[in-house]
Amino acid sequence: MLVEIIEETKGKDGRRNLKVAKENLVELIKDLKSKGYDHLSLITGIDRKDRLEVVYHLHNMKKNEYIVVRTETMDERMPSISSLYAAANWEEREQYDMLGIVFEGHPNLKRLFLPESWVGHPLRKNYDLSKVQYINMDEDGNDYATFDPGDGW
């Protein structure tokens, strides 16, 4: 391996977990991709309350091997890997939408499911579920979120 691995563990499903620092993430994934890990299966963000963890599931289709790369961020920012995998484009948009992780270098970092004006990121542990937001459509056909139930046409 080119980069320093902080910790190597095994999950309950028997897959290899590699933990790396945020700065080394792109380099490691680039290295893994050149070794045949061509299928990006999943990107998961986990809200650990004091920090955000991002987990990448990579898969080697030919050899049928799995590897899990984990990294952490304290400031809600992560380097984007959308230049390496086309699948990362929507995956990162989804994690940005749900957890507010800003992927730096993403070409089109918009919310995937919710409208742009939605307040908060629902999968954060401190997200306030008691505040109801309503979705309306403006006259150009774009959706927007509002706290006012009587809004819209």
Partner: protein
């Protein structure tokens, strides 16, 4: 390699067309923003999220056993496969493997549901192309499967049949007889349905050579399932990483090297034939014994505590359905994340639908097999 469509000239004024979210050809609530040059599609932007319920958050707020119903409502035409995906992960986290008999029952139900889901797809795909007849043929056959589901679980679509550590109730001889009867009759009906499609010249000419998906591009975008196999990549989770008892069963993975719409159609029909093969073997081999793990008694369900984390992959009718559960030792999961195969298959649509005619856009989006309960979750 990152595949991107050629950027179109934004300074030029294109005809912009909004399709959906309530359009009959969008299989639910897909919205497409299309830029047109005459009748040629120049750019497609799929906008999703109209059926978003945030099942992942709901799972975090519920006990392990209660979260199952949100999975029923993801791919609502293939509920058994969704339940299976969740339970594969949850059982690893909870440490409660299902007994032998439950595993065989699960295989039978998952394969029956795969046939049902493919029949819904075939019927809806016919409708996309303006064929009304196959729709009824498909749904009559699907109804027979749903009758079996009603007998085992009490409901047609949102079955909630599998439970942690086994299944909700045992199957009796009558149900096995019904399944046997179905596997005897279905292949003939399937050929009939198949012929209503392929003996139609218009159907062939509208699908042959349309929507070519190169295998490298498919892997790059994370496309899995029948769509990937129709591009010539022999990859199926049931063979690559066998779960339940799939390694004891004899079946083939259909692959096509033609890469177009017609290839995807043929692969899905061949999959139905293989599913029948699996069910026929399974009902002969199904052993006696308990149908749930005694550690997962109904009264103990809400006290189950998960530890560690697990990612489980299963082959649903759309592709690789993965569930990632992070547990923290409490009675509720800390984080649940779902890998939706249909969403990944949809994300390749802007690439596929570049420079095609507007009528072909729907035949292409039809073959991606979208179910919006699963795309939006």
């Amino acid at each position: 390699m990152v595949v991107e469509g050629e950027k179109i000239d934004q300074s030029k004024e294109w005809v912009e067309l909004n399709i959906g979210p309530q359009h009959p050809s969008t299989h639910g609530v897909l919205r497409l923003r299309v830029k047109l040059d005459g009748e040629t599609v120049k750019e497609v932007e799929p906008i999703i999220g109209y059926l978003h319920r945030n099942a992942e958050k709901l799972c975090e707020m519920d006990y392990y056993c209660d979260s199952l119903i949100y999975f029923d409502r993801m791919d609502y035409v293939g509920a058994m496969n969704m339940e299976l995906g969740y339970l594969e992960a949850a059982e690893k986290v909870l440490g409660i493997p299902p007994p032998e008999r439950a595993q065989w029952i699960r295989v039978i139900m998952a394969e029956l549901n795969r046939i049902a889901a493919h029949l819904v797809w075939a019927g809806a795909f016919g409708l996309d192309l303006g064929m009304l007849t196959p729709f009824f043929y498909c749904f009559i056959e699907r109804e027979k499967i749903l009758r079996i589901f009603t007998a085992v679980s009490g409901s047609r679509q949102q079955t909630n049949y599998m439970s942690i550590g086994g299944v909700y109730q045992d199957i009796d001889d009558q149900i096995i007889y019904d399944i046997d009867q179905f596997t005897e009759e279905f292949p003939k009906k399937l050929e009939e349905i198949f012929n209503t499609f392929v003996k139609n010249d218009i159907f062939i000419s509208r699908n042959k050579g349309v929507g070519i998906l190169e295998p490298e591009v498919a892997i790059e975008y994370g496309v899995t399932g029948p769509m990937l196999r129709a591009s010539g990549v022999e990859y199926d989770v049931r063979k690559a990483e066998p779960y339940l008892v799939y390694d004891k069963l004899n079946f083939d993975i259909p692959v096509s090297f033609k890469k177009d719409n017609l290839a995807r159609f043929l692969v899905r029909f061949e999959e139905m034939r293989q599913s029948i093969r699996i069910i026929k073997q399974a009902i002969k081999k199904i052993p006696d014994g308990p149908y749930f793990n005694p550690k997962a008694k109904k009264s103990l369900m809400i006290r189950l505590r998960g530890e560690g984390e697990a990612y489980a992959r299963t082959e649903s009718s759309k592709g690789e359905f993965g569930v990632y559960i992070v547990a923290d030792g409490s009675v509720k999961p800390y984080r649940v994340h779902v890998r939706s195969p249909a969403m990944r298959n949809l994300s390749v649509l802007p690439y596929l639908a570049k420079d095609v005619m507007i009528a072909d856009l729907f035949s292409i989006s039809g073959t991606t097999d979208l179910v919006f309960g699963e795309v939006d979750r």
